[in-house]
């Protein structure tokens, strides 16, 4: 079903809520960049980081590096632990709201378990 011709252009309203991640491409361990806290929220939402006691900060810390490496494993990306362009692009993709890792015990299948072993 597509919108009929003649309706006002609603493309501006269809903005990706994760488009700001694009500005974080190239970030790595030790960086401090505005917006990293939001990306930590994303990683926490999908099970890669535990929920913070208060608010996340904008530091690219060791926990974030580990979380990104796990994310890269899960999505078949090179596990650099850095926010390279391919990782950021994948994170901006529309996706299911169900977490990839639940209670730290469920991951995304045998590929990841195999690599970890």
């Amino acid at each position: 079903r597509t919108l009929p011709e003649g309706l006002p252009d609603i493309k501006p309203l269809l903005s990706n809520p994760w488009s700001a991640f694009q500005n974080l491409s190239g970030c790595h361990f030790g960086d401090e960049r505005q917006g990293l806290a939001r990306l930590k929220d994303y990683l926490s939402r999908f099970g890669y980081l535990p929920a913070p006691p208060a608010k996340f900060n904008d530091m690219f810390d060791a926990d974030m590096e580990t979380a990104i490496r796990t994310y890269q494993h899960n999505f078949g990306l090179e596990a650099t632990g850095q926010l390279d362009a391919a990782t950021v692009a994948k994170m901006m993709s529309p996706r299911c709201g169900v977490a990839d890792i639940i209670n730290g015990t469920s991951s995304m299948g045998k590929t990841v378990h195999g690599r970890n072993l």
Partner: protein, 194 residues
């Protein structure tokens, strides 16, 4: 493939599951189209398993309820407007399946020809979420239905071998299931993979 913690599934005695499209659902897609799209999505899982699915008009009679919602809709998993998260579903035997009403859903027709870049194929998302309703978690296999992301303006509705092995381990296989059709691969892709 993966399962939710504890590998929850529907009871072995319950081979027939009823689903309802909730009346208060926030979408302009007509009811007949919704019925057709969800029936097709459920049929893809019943083809591979010993499970059967039938639509029922009453949510109180249903094992599975399907609804379109916006923003915070009371389950602690607020939707975020167009793109971002598209839908979510709960593990067995909860049965709730929620879709983000703000998406530019395409229900039938060729989604690749939709006028909006952000168009999302409803059946593709439905097939994925039904996997969660039946007990599957996410998969690392990019071609699998249970891979967590989908590209807008694309359709992905066929179960991959990874999905089939995962679901048949939970519920057993349908003896009439013909198996998965390998995705078409162009010579360029083959060369690239090599």
């Amino acid at each position: 493939y993966s399962y939710f913690p504890g590998s929850p599934s529907w009871p072995r005695s319950k081979k027939s599951l009823r689903y309802a499209i909730t009346a208060a659902t926030e979408t302009t897609i007509d009811r007949a189209t919704l019925s057709r799209v969800f029936a097709s999505a459920f049929a893809r899982w019943s083809a591979a398993t010993t499970l059967n699915f039938t639509e029922t008009a009453s949510a109180s009679d249903a094992d599975i309820t399907i609804g379109f919602h916006s923003g915070d809709h009371g389950d602690g998993e607020a939707f975020d407007g167009p793109l971002g998260t598209l839908a979510h579903a709960f593990s067995p035997t909860d049965g709730r399946f929620h879709l983000d009403a703000s998406e530019a859903w395409v229900a039938g027709g060729d989604v690749s020809r939709a006028s909006l870049d952000a168009a999302v194929d409803l059946e593709s998302v439905a097939v994925h979420e039904i996997g969660h309703l039946l007990g599957l978690g996410h998969s690392s296999v990019e071609g699998a239905i249970m891979y967590p992301t989908i590209t807008s303006r694309t359709q992905k509705v066929e179960l991959a071998n990874d999905d089939v092995v995962g679901i048949q381990s939970l519920y057993g296989g349908n003896p009439n299931f013909k198996g998965v059709t390998p995705p078409a691969t162009s010579s360029e892709e083959t060369h690239s993979a090599a």
